[in-house]
């Protein structure tokens, strides 16, 4: 019981403090640019382009797809900063030299980004309502909140994995940008999955966001929570798989660092 209390405290302390310490966009200008204006520009760009190509009737497809895809701003960029940032801060040896539970330490890095990511998605949807006339009259709001939470969690799972890649690679931003743009293509945010070739659809279903975006579209259209549960359940499982993959890589990095002596020198 005491061990559980210790790990919960470590998780919560790490969640808040690592968010403040390592999320380098957490400054007024950077935050406004990345969390308020970038979402607006992304939604405007894809919605204008999409409606120009397919007609105004499809606007909600692009607005919702891009608003939910914004979970990746925190999930990918934020989480990788919070995991990989220890390499740049030079804190890795001090973390690896503590008796702390590694899973609590590691997963805590994503917690605040799940909450912050939800706010970003809400911000994206708000832009859609205010500027592009997104219709929320039929929306299942409780179901949508759950869908956003789950989608942000699963995307943060991918971020934890990519953050560990950042511990062993100096190409963090390249990897992040590739992942973010890749999600724009593969997640169904802008291109209906049915329009993708078979091999691309296989990738889509192995990525976070795909099921979350589909569920969110249905919930805003008034679908019941029960009808999207298979999608949300799949999204939770996928997120958990990514968290476990990231954690395994984190432990591998620690073991490898002890063997090779390259704790910060990858």
């Amino acid at each position: 019981m005491r061990a559980l209390a210790i790990n919960v405290r470590l998780f919560m302390e790490g969640a808040l403090l690592s968010y403040v310490a390592l999320f380098s966009w957490l400054q007024p200008v950077a935050y406004l640019a990345s969390k308020v204006f970038m979402p607006l520009v992304q939604i405007l760009f894809w919605t204008m382009l999409g409606t120009f190509a397919t007609g105004r009737a499809n606007a909600s497809f692009f607005i919702i797809g891009n608003a939910v895809q914004l979970a990746a701003v925190n999930g990918i960029y934020g989480v990788t900063m919070s995991v990989g940032g220890d390499r740049w801060a030079g804190t890795l040896p001090y973390l690896f030299g503590t008796p702390a539970n590694r899973l609590a330490m590691f997963s805590g890095r994503a917690f605040m980004h799940v909450i912050d990511g939800m706010l970003t998605v809400v911000m994206g949807l708000a832009w859609g309502v205010l500027l592009l006339g997104l219709d929320f009259s039929q929306a299942n709001l409780v179901g949508l909140a759950l869908a956003i939470l789950i989608t942000t969690f699963s995307t943060s799972g991918l971020g934890l994995l990519l953050g560990c890649v950042g511990l062993v690679s100096i190409e963090t931003m390249f990897i992040n940008n590739t992942a973010y743009v890749g999600l724009l293509i593969f997640s169904g945010a802008n291109i209906p999955l049915a329009a993708l070739p078979g091999w691309m659809q296989s990738i889509s279903w192995a990525l976070p966001l795909t099921r979350g975006i589909a569920a969110s579209r249905a919930l805003i259209d008034g679908a019941s929570l029960g009808s999207v549960l298979p999608l949300l359940g799949g999204e939770v499982l996928l997120g958990a798989v990514y968290v476990l993959l990231g954690y395994s890589l984190f432990r591998w990095v620690e073991r490898q660092a002890k063997r090779s002596g390259k704790l910060e020198g990858f």
Binding site: S18, A89, T98, S260
Partner: protein, 323 residues
Amino acid sequence: MNPIEVEHLRREFKTHIGVIRRKAKTVVAVDDISFAVSPGELFGLLGPNGAGKTTTVKMLTTLLIPSGGTARVLGHDVDRDPEPIRKRIGFIFGGERGLYWRLSGIDNLRYFASLYHVEPAVARKRIAYLLELVGLGDRGKEKVEGYSRGMMQRLHIARTLLHDPEVLFLDEPTIGLDPVGARELRHVVRDLQAERKTILLTTHYMFEADALCQRVAVINKGRIIAMDTPQALKGHVSDLSVVEVEVFGLPPDVLERVRGMPFVDTVSLENLDSRQWMRVQTRRGAEAVPDLMAAMSGLRVGRVVVREPTLEDAYVRLVGGEA
């Protein structure tokens, strides 16, 4: 049982050269070293850069797996049983890195307290006490990015004491500090010694070892070449004098000529902008000066001083003038 016991410890690193035709190269960083540190002892590990000091500390703090030999800290093997060690030791590596600059000093300590399983109520009191101990009592709420190097090093000391460890590893804690900051930090180390902490300190500053350590091991090229009290180590050069010559633009061939002179024991060179201080250890004392001046004829020479040897000179002699 000694808190630190090292027997025939060895660590090698494999590196690769080239891109297409890669060649493996093995570098031995620590080569068959043995020593033990008694309870409450402040033990110094001295050597020039690249001597193997930090590699040794990394192995003893469970951050690096030894390639051979054994190392036990508080009775536990550093490779096979690292977890109990981590709970009972503290360590710092020199420099500014290793802190979260965007957090306050207090928040840095709060986070590390949770990593070391310190109960929140205990942590609050301990953080307040430690900030006072290291002279940061009134600066704890400020972000670390505004701290000086010396303040960061002192915060590192506070961090390493959060869980009241029995054994401390301080790897070049005064490196990069100005003289005042270094002196303040040495005061803190003395206070820790007074609390009967077992401390392993690495440094390449001889006077620091002389002032702080009860025993010193001199390490060079991965091997321990001498181990004794500072006073006994000074005995290695008791029969020598040191001639210090300030010279402007000393060519390498002249330096080699001086090194080759029969009455010269060891020569070290300290570069200072446009001039150098050449330090010659010799049994001839002041009588060596005319021959040295003759060897440097044609060069601009400044001050010449003949003095008794210090512990630093003993160290220079032991490492063969490479310090």
